[in-house]
């Protein structure tokens, strides 16, 4: 329960995964699944994360990840899994 989908999209560069993962570790967020590809130099990653032990509110995490993305030069979104489940599963 309470899964979060984190997506990272942007121009590929060194340290994207490292940056995102260290932030998640600092906030007690467990990564359960990662898939990642690079298409034409564009980095594309999706993570399924468990935020149950995270002390911060979801909205705050989403904002901080967005800021982190701006620093690295990619777009990071953290969305609750339900929106995808509801849309794509009957």
């Amino acid at each position: 329960m309470n899964k979060t989908i984190i997506t990272v999209v942007g121009k590929d560069t060194v340290g994207i995964i490292a940056g995102v993962c260290s932030y998640l570790a600092e906030n007690q967020i467990n990564i359960e699944d990662i898939s990642q590809t690079i298409v034409n130099g564009y980095f594309n990653m999706m993570m399924v994360a468990d935020m149950n032990k995270c002390p911060k509110q979801h909205a705050q995490i989403a904002e901080e990840l967005e800021d982190l993305g701006q620093k690295i030069g990619v777009i990071i979104k953290a969305q609750r899994e339900e929106i995808f489940d509801n849309m794509h599963r009957v």
């Binding site: 989908i5 898939s35 399924v48 989403a62 969305q79 899994e81 995808f84 509801n86 849309m87 794509h88």
Partner: protein, 454 residues
């Protein structure tokens, strides 16, 4: 488990195709604050609405952030004020005091519109109804966020032609009192036939007397999403076309349902309905007219438009009802002119006329919406336009509405600017021939034969 492709599809819809939740509207009953003292009434109205909706905007924003979907508007609808003010108001000016209270509380809780400055006069008009209707032009001129609506007829009761005639004059007066802002007052005033009690969309939202104390209704949107989906099936059969619209409507509605449930849980207010309407905005790519063009029309308004719109409206409903257990409000496709870039282009190109729009309202969810007409249009002509639209609703057992803006001082070919979500509109030609003697008759049009089902 959700896969990469599905996540990307959802985010693409949100980022590139303008998918959003158009409005979370909290319906609040004011029946329990009725008071015969105007001062007390105003105080109690303010307190009840403030207490109920204090956290509406913050909660809506939180949900939007967590799911990563914009929730564009947070709004309030209240019980028709003609009922609430009936005991306290002795004149039209008293009603304006209530309008000011509504405006203030809307401002203080941070919602951008509050609906329910309304009268339900489908069969007859009480003294309070009449006072409220007469106060509408002034109320809309002195407030920012108050929206007014009047239900003039229904399939069960027929059409109250006395009020239709009066509304022709009221609309002109509202236009005149806001002439410095291109008659913006009229953009916040709509008349209905068969008005729904649970409509979350402005300007026609009000909290019906059949509703519970407070309720959360949600209006979704997503014309851009439907258009993009259809662009992938160009040239395919009608079966494929319908299937594509249905599937897309399902996805869009599910998001609405999720947001509605979540808002209802967090605010501890019962969930009412999801309104499935495809509601356009002036943003590029957020247009219902573009969907019609994608189906194969050169412009909205070309021959075939009514058929295309009928198909669209029906498939949106078929996909949507599967996605939510409680569907209500207007649910269909909106065809406002000023709020839809594709419609504006069609009018400018000469493809779309008022008469064609009227035909389109027979098969879509609402009616003549956000249409700018010359400022010198006669009151009886406006009443005639209203009567035609009410008749379509009455006979076809559907909701129809009229929101026309006779823009003071402007003529055919000029442009009216309303700003923001309300957009801009080219002034459209109105049939110049008179209906004076028809409109001047008193009384009402009786209910149609198929209303006698008991």
């Amino acid at each position: 488990m959700i896969n990469f492709y599905e996540v990307n599809e959802t985010n693409q819809m949100i980022e590139k195709e303008n998918l959003d939740v158009r409005t979370i509207t909290m319906g609040i009953s004011l029946l329990d604050v009725i008071d015969s003292d105007l001062k007390n009434l105003n105080r109690k109205i303010y307190e009840k609405i403030y207490a109920a909706a204090e956290n509406l905007v913050a909660t809506g924003d939180d949900i939007g952030r967590e799911f990563g979907i914009p929730i564009v508007n947070k709004r309030i609808s209240v019980t028709p004020i003609s009922l609430i003010g009936a005991a306290a108001c002795k004149c039209a000016d008293d009603f304006i005091e209530i309008a000011k209270t509504l405006d203030k509380v809307a401002h203080d809780v941070g919602v951008n519109f509050i609906g329910g400055y309304s009268a339900l006069v489908a069969k007859g008009t009480t003294r309070a109804d009449e006072m409220l209707i007469n106060s509408i032009p002034q109320a809309l001129a002195v407030t920012e966020r108050v929206c007014a609506s009047v239900n003039l007829g229904s399939t069960k009761t027929g059409i109250n032609m006395d009020s239709v005639r009066l509304m022709g004059e009221i609309i002109l007066k509202a236009a005149d009192l806001t002439k410095e802002r291109d008659s913006l007052g009229c953009a916040k005033l709509v008349v209905f036939c068969n008005a729904p009690d649970d409509n979350p969309f402005m300007a026609g939202a009000f909290h019906g007397v059949t509703e519970t104390d407070t309720v959360i209704n949600v209006g979704v949107s997503g014309p851009g999403v439907v258009k993009t989906a259809l662009s992938k099936v160009r040239g395919e059969s009608f079966e494929v076309l319908c299937e594509t619209i249905k599937k897309t409507a399902f996805k869009v509605t599910r998001v609405g349902q999720l947001v509605a449930k979540e808002a209802s849980r967090r605010l501890n207010v019962p969930f009412g309905i999801v309104d499935l309407s495809l509601a356009p905005t002036p943003a590029v790519g957020d247009s219902v007219a573009d969907i019609l063009c994608e189906m194969g029309l050169e412009y909205a308004g070309a021959p075939g438009t009514t058929a295309a719109l009928a198909l669209l409206n029906d498939q949106v409903k078929k996909g949507g009802v599967m996605a939510s257990s409680y569907v209500g409000g207007l649910s269909g496709a909106f065809i406002p002119v000023s709020e839809d870039q594709g419609m504006i282009d069609a009018v400018t190109a000469g493809a779309l006329t008022l008469e064609k729009l009227e035909a389109m309202t027979c098969v879509c969810s609402v009616g003549l919406d956000m249409i700018a007409i010359p400022g010198d249009t006669k009151a009886t002509t406006i009443a005639g336009i209203i009567a035609d639209e009410m008749a379509i609703g009455m006979i076809n057992q559907k909701t129809t509405a009229v929101r026309v803006i006779p823009v003071a001082g402007k003529k055919i070919g000029d442009v009216a600017e309303f700003g923001g979500l309300l957009g801009y509109a080219p002034i459209m030609k109105v049939n110049p021939f008179s209906c004076d003697d028809f409109i001047k008759r008193s009384g009402r049009i009786p209910a149609p034969i198929h209303s006698f089902k008991n």
